[in-house]
Each structure stands twice: as structure tokens, then as C-alpha cells.
């Protein structure tokens, strides 16, 4: 077969993988180890894709190369370590800063999950039921790739155990360095496979928690390599001497670790700092992408609705509010900020309501202080909402909302500049103001008043006392001032 030629050609490939793959020959897929359709590490499959050959040809070539003094193995390991994992046929490997936003939810990500789901040792021939049947087109390849890696590792380990047993029982191997070297190599391979598994582990941890397999690999590799080294070095030694040298080696290792610890710590810290920096950059990119998108949309909408001034004003106001929120607010987590909840209420009213003449609503909200919402503030929030709606419908702009969260009192003022109205003149059977605003707040032990200044607008003043958390249990007790207020309401 002519296969050795292309394989040898490609030994120069990894040295300059990216430029030749992306700029030099655009038609040729880049050298990547695919996660699907692989037997061991995906090297052959990746090579085949890159060289545009059949996978079988590459595999046979590699096997033949093994005969050439183990060149095939060396080449395979070298490529395994140096070639990054990925889909050679992915449209563009370079991540753009917006690609995170459009990552498809189902396609390639699923394939990755299936890929390593089958790689994880679960006992030969027993595919994980939770993975389920992979996509039909891929099923054949997936089944074939099943536990090859694990079987190979198990075979190596079993062979090593058998050899060790044989040596113990007096069987004398010809070349005494072969077995220890093999053990050493197996250990190194096991530990190095970490590099491969590490990438998938990262995917895994995003998808749902990582398994201790990677740790086992590392520990097993270290133990194997250590055993190999000991056997290789200490063949002629007496057990005492071996023990002594082991202790000495461990001491040296510990000393080196002690010396290197600061560097290692700094490295870890810098890595962490870099990660946060990157997270910040991507956060900023998120904001930029979001803003550009929404602002452009609003502008397009405004242009198409240019004949409707009220609608244009409303959209402009909504966009302004959104921008402000993104630019100047801390964006507290939902459910932790009364001020944020109040702003949401204002936003909802500005978006959905319009004034008596159909004009857009603008509410000047000034919020002082903040606290975590609870049932009391929820009632206050609803009452504020009703008051604002009332002001929008019956009052005249400008509308002002002022909320002050004090240490023992939360106060809300809603003001409009309408003609005002006389609360006593409102029939008592109308629930509007009386029940939805005043009743709500009084039931929570607060007070509410509506003040109309002749021709100078109406101001609704709501206030509820702030209670410490442990006081909440008291609320159900009879005889409390707010319990009295509750009674007539329940009768309705």
C-alpha cells in the first residue's frame, strides 16, 4: 500500500496547523480530532478529514507504521497531544465574540454530549440508557466507537498485572527493562489522556457536573508511572535500599513542591483573574449586542410608525428606560429589591397605559433607599400601581412617583396635576380608590390618604411601617390594629 507516504507527509502538519488549514488552503478542513466516529483519540479520523482520505486508509497506514519500530504509536501519541479536539467540518472554528449569543441549543452541542457520553467507562457493551439513542444517522458510528479506549486501557492494566505476577513467581523476563518501561508508558499515557478528557470535562461540567473519572486517571497514571520508575531503577536493589530511595525521592519531590508552591499559587490566581476579566469582557459584549439590537429595532419601529406621535413617544420612552437600566442600574437579582420592583411597575404602566388623549405616559420616579420585598411591600406595590393607573387615567401629567424607604417606614407619594377629586364624593360602592389603594395598605397596618388640591392635582400618600422579620408571626394574632381593619374586608 502507498499509505505510509501521506501519513509521513503530515508529520509536518501539526507544526503549522492553523495557518495552513485556514488561510493556505481554504477548501481543506482544519486538523481537528472529531468527537464522533473515533476509535481511540480521534487522531485517525481527524487526519483522514484533514487529508481528505478514507479513515480506513489512515488507520491501516498508522498500524503499518507501528511495525516500523513503533513510529505509528509515537506519531499517534504526538498528534493526540498536539491536535485540538473539535469538529473539522464546523463552518468556522474561530469564535467570534457574538457566537456565544447564537450558539445553537440542539445541534452540535448534542453531538458532543453523545460523543463523550459514550466514551465514559460504563462497562463494555452497555451504553448509558440516559444518553438515549443518538441521532439516527450517527448511530452506527457511535456504537462502533463505544468502549475501545477503556478496553485498551483495561488490557494494558491486565497485561501489566499478569507480568508483575509472573515476575513475582519467579519467571525471569529476558530484557528486564521492557516491562517497567511499558508500565511507565502506560502510566504516562493514562495521565496524558487527561489533556483529552479535560476538554470534554469542561463541556461536561457545563452540562451537568463532572465525574471523578479525571481524578482517577491522574492518580492511576501517577501510581503506574511511579511503579514503573521503581521497577526500572531498583531492579538490583535490596528491599531496604529501595525503601530508602523511595523515601528520599518523596522527600525531594516534597521539597520541590514546596519551592514551586508560590509560583503555582500565583499561576492559579492569575488564571482566575484572567477568567474574571474575560467574563467581564463577554458581559460587556453581551450588553453591547443587546443594546445595539434593541435600539436598532426601536429605531426601525419608530421610523415605520412616524405618523403616530403617541406611539413614537411611547416607544422612545420604553427604549430610554431600557437603556438607562442597562447603563446605570446595578440590575439587582429579581426579588431582592423593592426599588427594582417599583421600577418594573412604572415600566409596565408606561408601556401599557396611555393618557386620556391617547398620549404616552411618563412617570418621574424618584426612589430613595431600598429593601428586600416582602408581603407588606407587595401590598404597597399593588396599591402604588393602582394609584399610578388612577393618576394616568384621571389626572394630568406630569406624574410624579416618590418612594422613600426609611428604617421604620416606607412612604410612597403619587402625584398628578389633574383637577383633583373629592374622595368623599366618590360613592362608597365604588371599589377603585377606596379598596384597591386605601384598603390594601391599611390591612397591612399602614395608612393611606388622598389629598386633592383644588386645580392643583391629586396626591396619594401611602405608608406602611417596616417590621423586623420576626414580627411577621404576630400579624395573625387578634387584637392587633391591622387585624381590625381586616374584618370588614373579609365580610365582603
Amino acid at each position: 500500500m502507498t499509505s505510509p507516504e501521506p501519513a509521513r507527509d503530515d508529520t509536518t502538519g501539526p507544526a503549522t496547523p492553523v495557518p495552513s488549514a485556514t488561510s493556505g488552503a481554504p477548501s481543506r478542513p482544519p486538523l481537528r480530532r472529531p468527537t464522533t466516529g473515533r476509535r481511540i483519540g480521534g487522531v485517525a479520523a481527524g487526519l483522514a478529514a484533514h487529508l481528505e482520505l478514507s479513515v480506513r486508509v489512515v488507520r491501516v497506514a498508522l498500524v503499518l507504521l507501528v511495525g516500523l519500530g513503533g513510529v505509528g504509536i509515537a506519531l499517534y501519541v504526538f498528534l493526540w497531544v498536539t491536535v485540538p479536539e473539535g469538529d473539522p467540518f464546523a463552518p468556522d472554528e474561530r469564535p467570534t465574540h457574538l457566537s456565544r449569543l447564537v450558539r445553537p441549543a440542539a445541534g452540535p452541542a448534542d453531538a458532543v454530549v453523545v460523543g463523550y457520553g459514550l466514551e465514559v467507562p460504563r462497562g463494555p457493551g452497555a451504553p448509558d440508557p440516559t444518553v438515549g439513542p443518538p441521532q439516527v444517522g450517527r448511530a452506527g458510528a457511535a456504537v462502533r466507537t463505544l468502549p475501545v479506549t477503556d478496553i485498551a486501557i483495561a488490557l494494558v492494566l491486565i497485561a501489566a498485572a499478569v507480568v508483575l505476577l509472573a515476575v513475582r513467581n519467579g519467571a525471569h523476563l529476558q530484557s528486564t527493562w521492557v516491562v517497567p518501561t511499558l508500565i511507565l508508558l502506560a502510566g504516562t499515557a493514562l495521565a496524558w489522556s487527561q489533556l483529552d478528557a479535560g476538554q470534554r470535562g469542561r463541556w461536561r461540567s457545563r452540562a451537568g457536573g463532572r465525574t471523578p473519572v479525571s481524578v482517577l486517571r491522574l492518580v492511576g497514571g501517577i501510581v503506574l508511572a511511579g511503579a514503573g520508575v521503581l521497577l526500572l531503577v531498583g531492579q538490583e536493589m535490596s528491599p531496604e535500599l529501595l525503601l530508602q530511595s523511595m523515601v528520599a525521592a518523596l522527600a525531594v519531590l516534597a521539597g520541590v513542591a514546596l519551592v514551586l508552591a508560590p509560583w503555582w499559587l500565583r499561576l492559579v490566581r492569575e488564571l482566575g483573574a484572567e477568567r474574571t476579566a474575560r467574563a467581564r469582557v463577554s458581559d460587556r459584549a453581551d450588553i453591547a449586542a443587546h443594546l445595539h439590537d434593541s435600539v436598532l429595532q426601536t429605531l426601525a419601529l419608530i421610523r415605520s410608525r412616524a405618523d403616530d406621535p403617541h406611539e413614537v413617544a411611547r416607544m422612545a420612552r420604553a427604549q430610554e428606560r431600557e437603556l438607562r437600566e442597562w447603563l446605570y442600574d446595578d440590575r439587582p437579582a429579581p426579588g431582592t429589591s423593592l426599588a427594582a420592583a417599583l421600577r418594573a411597575v412604572v415600566a409596565e404602566i408606561e408601556d401599557t397605559r396611555s393618557g386620556p388623549g391617547g398620549e404616552a405616559v411618563v412617570i418621574d420616579a424618584v426612589l430613595v433607599g431600598d429593601r428586600e420585598p416582602d408581603a407588606d411591600t407587595e401590598a404597597l406595590l399593588q396599591a402604588t400601581r393602582e394609584a399610578l393607573v388612577n393618576a394616568v387615567v384621571h389626572g394630568r401629567p406630569p406624574l410624579s412617583l416618590y418612594c422613600e424607604v426609611g428604617p421604620d417606614l416606607i412612604e410612597v407619594f403619587v402625584r398628578d396635576r389633574g383637577d383633583g377629586f373629592d374622595l368623599d364624593a366618590v360613592p362608597s360602592d365604588r371599589f377603585g380608590v377606596r379598596e384597591s389603594i386605601i384598603g390594601r395598605v391599611r390591612r397591612r397596618g399602614g395608612s393611606a390618604s388622598v389629598e386633592s388640591k383644588d386645580g392643583n392635582g391629586t396626591e396619594v400618600h401611602l405608608s406602611i411601617p417596616v417590621r423586623a422579620k420576626e414580627d411577621h408571626a404576630v400579624r395573625a394574632a387578634p387584637g392587633q390594629p391591622w387585624a381590625d381593619a381586616t374584618e370588614p374586608v373579609k365580610e365582603r
Binding site: L327, D364, V366, P407, E459
Partner: protein, 218 residues
């Protein structure tokens, strides 16, 4: 009708300058415009207008924006007064220009008539507080009722009356409405507001110094 007030308009957006020009009534006359920190300093020093309408975010200079313009014109503060005009809601922006010496802070959503009134008020030596700025003051000085200044010389706390005035302004009351609500004269309201402005500029309350430090003002 009294003489119109001459103002210099400083903003880096041409469109916004045109909009302000068009919305101002005959109580105000725009005598100069500038679009960057350096240009603003030059124009203000040359024209010495009674009032400068100043954007908070400006290009040029050392990157200090409007606050830098005021700092560079500190020696003119006796005759030239600055009214900050901004779209920003951010506390450190507000505090930065006020502590640099601005006599007031209004948002760009203000109507032309209100802006003209604010310019007149600033020209008369009074402070201009929008509801938002009053809210900031209450936030920064603590809305707690127990935290009340007892003497006039106390800079780090508001007096009970000042707090009341600030709360009414934050509720959307005009100076006139505040006056009638508290049964005091408009002049007294203006005195209280100016006192609050002075505290805002000189106080060493850590909320204020923190915000100012964020803009490297101190």
C-alpha cells in the same frame, strides 16, 4: 419682562444643542456654544456668560467631562454659574459636577420652559434641584429621621426643614408649591435649597466622597 439671560451651551451633540436652542424661550439668549472640554473652557473664559449650560459627559481635556470644565473655571465662579444638564442618572455623575461647583442639575428631559426658568434661577444665584437630585441628596444624607442636623454649621447632615424641602422637591413640587405647602416664602425655600447645595459640595459624608472619588475629584 427683564433682560434675557446670556448662556453658553456646552454639549458634544450638535443635535441636542440645536434642540435646546429651539426650545428655550425669550428669557434666555444663547451667546456661545462649545462641544468639548477644551473648547468649553476657552469659550467660557472669553465670553464670561452669567450661566453655562453644561453637559456632564464631554470629550477632550483629561477625560473629566463637565466637572473638569468647572474646575478649570473655578476663578470665574463668582460671575459665571454652571447648570449641569445630563441624560445620566448615575449618582457619581451628579455628585461630580455638583461638587465641582455646579449650581444645579437637571436632566435633558426637561421642557424648554422649565429649563429657561432654571437658567433664570441659577443666574439669580439660586440652586436648581430636580426631583432626581433631591432624591440623591436624601439618599446620600440618609433619609432617616433621626439623622438631623442641629446647628447651621453642620455640613454632614440636613436640618429637619431642609429635609422637608428636599422631600417635597423629590415628590415633584415646584419651589412655589413647596413654599405654600410649608407656609414659608419662596425666598426661604431658595435659601434652604442653596444651603443643601452647599452641604452637597462641602460635606465629607462618605457616600459623597465615595462618589466623588469614583470620578477622581478629590
Amino acid at each position: 419682562m427683564s433682560e434675557p439671560v446670556d448662556v453658553v451651551l456646552v454639549d458634544d451633540h450638535l443635535m441636542f444643542r440645536a434642540g435646546v436652542r429651539a426650545s428655550l424661550d425669550d428669557r434666555v439668549r444663547v451667546v456661545g456654544e462649545a462641544s468639548s472640554v477644551d473648547e468649553a473652557i476657552r469659550v467660557v473664559r472669553e465670553l464670561r456668560p452669567p450661566v453655562v449650560l453644561l453637559d456632564v459627559h464631554l470629550p477632550g481635556g483629561d477625560g473629566g467631562g463637565g466637572a473638569e470644565v468647572i474646575t478649570a473655571c473655578t476663578d470665574l465662579l463668582g460671575e459665571t454659574r454652571f447648570l449641569a444638564l445630563s441624560v445620566s442618572d448615575a449618582a457619581d455623575d451628579v455628585v461630580a459636577v455638583i461638587r465641582a461647583g455646579a449650581r444645579g442639575y437637571v436632566t435633558k428631559a426637561i421642557t424648554g420652559a422649565d429649563l429657561a426658568a432654571a437658567v433664570q434661577r441659577v443666574a439669580g444665584g439660586d440652586a436648581v434641584f430636580s426631583p432626581l437630585l433631591a432624591g440623591f441628596v436624601l439618599d446620600a444624607f440618609g433619609a432617616a429621621a433621626g439623622d438631623i442636623a442641629t446647628g447651621d454649621d453642620e455640613l454632614d447632615r440636613l436640618s429637619a426643614r431642609e429635609r422637608e424641602v428636599m422631600r417635597l422637591i423629590a415628590r415633584g413640587y415646584s419651589y412655589r408649591e413647596v413654599a405654600s405647602e410649608l407656609f414659608i416664602s419662596i425666598k426661604t425655600v431658595e435659601t434652604h435649597v442653596s444651603a443643601v447645595l452647599r452641604k452637597l459640595q462641602l460635606s465629607s459624608r462618605h457616600e459623597l466622597t465615595r462618589w466623588a472619588a469614583a470620578r477622581r475629584l478629590i
